[in-house]
């Protein structure tokens, strides 16, 4: 699993050492771009107060919807708030919800999948049956339903989005577990009296780790997409908190007069998603080229 397979689609040519290092540690030069974007977003999300030029809530209605200027680089929104500052503050909600949701889905989904594959029998039937039913409802609709019922803070939204991805991770960890279960090193460990929990943790989980890391990374892009989608629908973190999805929706009303408003909000969402996609693809190239295509949802 950890050996680097030579990629058939890559012809070995003499490349500069920088590109070689990028390929070795990040997967591809494009993945380096992904890490750079993510680094910028994380720094902005951690301290928007220090980096943003203005208070994201400070209104100046007299100058509402003013275009870009030296003073306000991306212009002002419908209440005369600085769009750039709001975008920077919006990074926090999107990244927090996106990462929290993936983590929760991984932490719940993988043990379920491993347990189903390891124990078999009714445990497997029960878990995989629930997984199949849940997979027949789009993740965003599950999230919508949860948020509509239980309200939408950062934590609630993360749980809402995570619910839709628990079955994905359970499904993805279930099938490899089935095959590892039959392998000699697992059978041997069981024969020597290894407890189930220990066998799963020491012999099965390490074999799934790299694939789950890759898919988790690719899924982070999807959870951010759904978070912004919920905010876009008006079911995200409540205003006046700045969210990228909310800004995209507000900007749509002024698409003809101030198109930049919506466009930059959408680009912010895009930048976060593309960062995780690039990093995930890079990880796939280094860790395990046979990882299945990203889950959709």
């Amino acid at each position: 699993m950890t050996t680097i397979e030579s990629h058939p689609s890559r012809t070995p040519t003499r490349r500069r050492s920088v590109a070689r290092a990028a390929r070795k540690y990040c997967g591809s030069p494009m993945a380096v771009a992904g890490y750079c974007i993510l680094l910028i977003l994380v720094v902005v999300a951690l301290m928007p107060g220090q980096l943003a030029p203005y208070d994201p809530h400070a209104q100046n209605v007299a100058r509402a919807l003013e275009g870009p200027s030296g003073e306000h680089l991306l212009g002002l929104d419908q209440y005369g708030r600085d769009i750039l500052s709001r975008l920077m503050h919006g990074a926090r909600v999107s990244l927090a919800v996106g990462l929290l949701a993936v983590s929760m889905a991984l932490v719940v989904g993988i043990p379920l999948g491993i347990a189903a594959g390891y124990f078999g029998g009714w445990v497997e039937t029960a878990i995989m049956w629930v997984v199949d039913v849940m997979l027949s409802i789009p993740g965003i609709i599950l999230a919508l339903l949860f948020v509509a019922l239980f309200g939408s803070g950062v934590v609630n939204m993360s749980i809402a989005i995570a619910i839709g991805f628990v079955p994905t991770f359970a499904r993805l960890s279930h099938s490899p577990t089935l095959s590892y279960r039959q392998r000699e090193f697992v059978q041997g460990s069981i024969a020597f009296g290894g407890r189930s929990l220990w066998v799963m943790r020491r012999h099965i989980w390490p074999n799934l780790r790299s694939q789950m890391l890759i898919i988790g990374c690719l899924t982070a892009g999807t959870t951010i997409r759904i978070e912004a989608g919920l905010s876009f629908l008006g079911l995200g973190v409540a205003p006046p908190t700045a969210t990228w999805g909310g800004m995209l929706r507000d900007g749509m009303l002024y698409l003809q007069s101030v198109p930049l408003y919506s466009i930059v909000a959408g680009l912010a969402i895009f930048s976060a998603i593309v960062a995780f996609n690039l990093i995930g693809d890079g990880l796939r190239d280094i860790l395990d080229p046979r990882t299945p295509e990203r889950p959709v949802g």
């Binding site: 058939p8 689609s9 890559r10 012809t11 494009m30 629930v130 039913v133 997979l135 027949s136 409802i137 789009p138 993740g139 965003i140 609709i141 919508l144 339903l145 949860f146 948020v147 509509a148 019922l149 239980f150 309200g151 892009g221 997409r225 912004a228 989608g229 876009f232 629908l233 008006g234 079911l235 995209l248 900007g251 749509m252 698409l255 003809q256 198109p259 919506s262 466009i263 959408g266 969402i269 895009f270 998603i273 593309v274 996609n277 690039l278 693809d281 295509e293 959709v296 949802g297």
Partner: protein
């Protein structure tokens, strides 16, 4: 009658049952109860009692659940909490718009994706391949709703296409003019995804012996690509359809909002914002049923085109 039909029916009934039960109990777990959520925290006890009576909420949970399942078995989803009209009627009125949108989006995604995938596979590791791969990764990172907004800004506002609404199928021209942009917004992301999968499958097949033999026999490269590589890869590509449809129905919620298009998605979002729980409940059940039916139909199609798939 084929043997798998009863199995598919059982699956449909079971899925609808589980989803309906989950939503039923979910709604009743709302903090403070649905009536408080509907009317607000400072509603008068009289009003709350009235809503509770309308919903049958004072009765024991098990009685409510039994009545709910009984209704469901007769195809009734109850009445809207807000308008008091039957939920089924409201859903059936908008369902065709959503189905039409999802099918059009799927067609665009499948056709575009296969074309782009075959094209990039044919030029493996040459410039068109790199451009195609960067393009598909970029498109994959665009949320469909953002593509919708961009399409309105870049196309609709310039060309003069309508940016909202939907027309019945009886008016094909108007219908198409209001369908094309939402369907494109849905289809473009799908194109990118299908292209990546197609390219991967094609490259695998292109490395196989029968392709080398075909080339050695002097068959034209185009024919090798289509007949010897795409055809064997087409079944796994087609089997993406079911998964793809689920994603499309989910994304349709957002796309319908962007284009202010009547449909299951806008219906659901409006009902959620108005806290119309019976409507939300009904819409989610219908979504699950539609998805199971479509996936079952696709499964039947796979069985017909691929005799190797047998009933377990």
């Amino acid at each position: 009658m084929p043997r798998y039909l009863p199995r598919l029916l059982v699956r449909l009934v079971l899925t609808v049952f589980v989803v309906a039960s989950a939503v039923f109990f979910g709604v009743r777990m709302v903090p403070g109860g649905p009536a408080t959520a509907l009317l607000g925290a400072d509603a008068s006890p009289v009003d709350i009692a009235a809503v509770n009576e309308k919903l049958g909420l004072e009765e024991p949970l098990i009685v409510q659940y039994g009545r709910f399942l009984g209704q469901l078995a007769t195809g009734s989803l109850g009445n809207s909490l807000v308008s008091d009209r039957p939920v089924t009627a409201s859903i059936m009125a908008v369902l065709p718009h959503t189905l039409e949108l999802a099918i059009a989006g799927m067609a665009i995604g499948m056709v575009g994706g296969v074309l782009l995938g075959v094209f990039t596979a044919a030029y493996r590791n040459r410039a068109p391949d790199y451009i195609g791969r960067v393009l598909s990764l970029t498109l994959l990172s665009f949320p469909s709703y953002y593509i919708g907004v961009l399409l309105i800004f870049l196309v609709a506002l310039r060309v003069g296409l309508p940016t909202s609404g939907a027309a019945p199928l009886s008016d094909p021209l108007q219908n198409l003019s209001q369908l094309i942009l939402p369907a494109l917004a849905l289809g473009i992301v799908g194109t990118a995804y299908v292209a990546r999968v197609t390219r991967g499958l094609m490259l695998e097949v292109l490395d196989e012996d029968h392709v080398r033999t075909a080339r050695a026999k002097g068959i034209s490269e185009f024919r090798v690509l289509i007949r010897h590589a795409l055809q064997p890869a087409s079944l796994p590509i087609a089997s993406l359809g079911g998964l793809f449809f689920i994603v499309l129905i989910g994304d349709a919620v957002l796309i319908e909002t962007v284009f202010a298009r009547p449909g299951l998605g806008t219906l659901m979002v409006d009902a959620m914002l108005a806290r119309d729980y019976t409507m939300v409940q009904g819409a989610v059940i219908v979504v699950a049923a539609v998805i199971v039916v479509v996936n079952s139909l696709l499964e039947i199609v796979y069985r017909l085109i691929d005799p190797r798939i047998r009933v377990k």
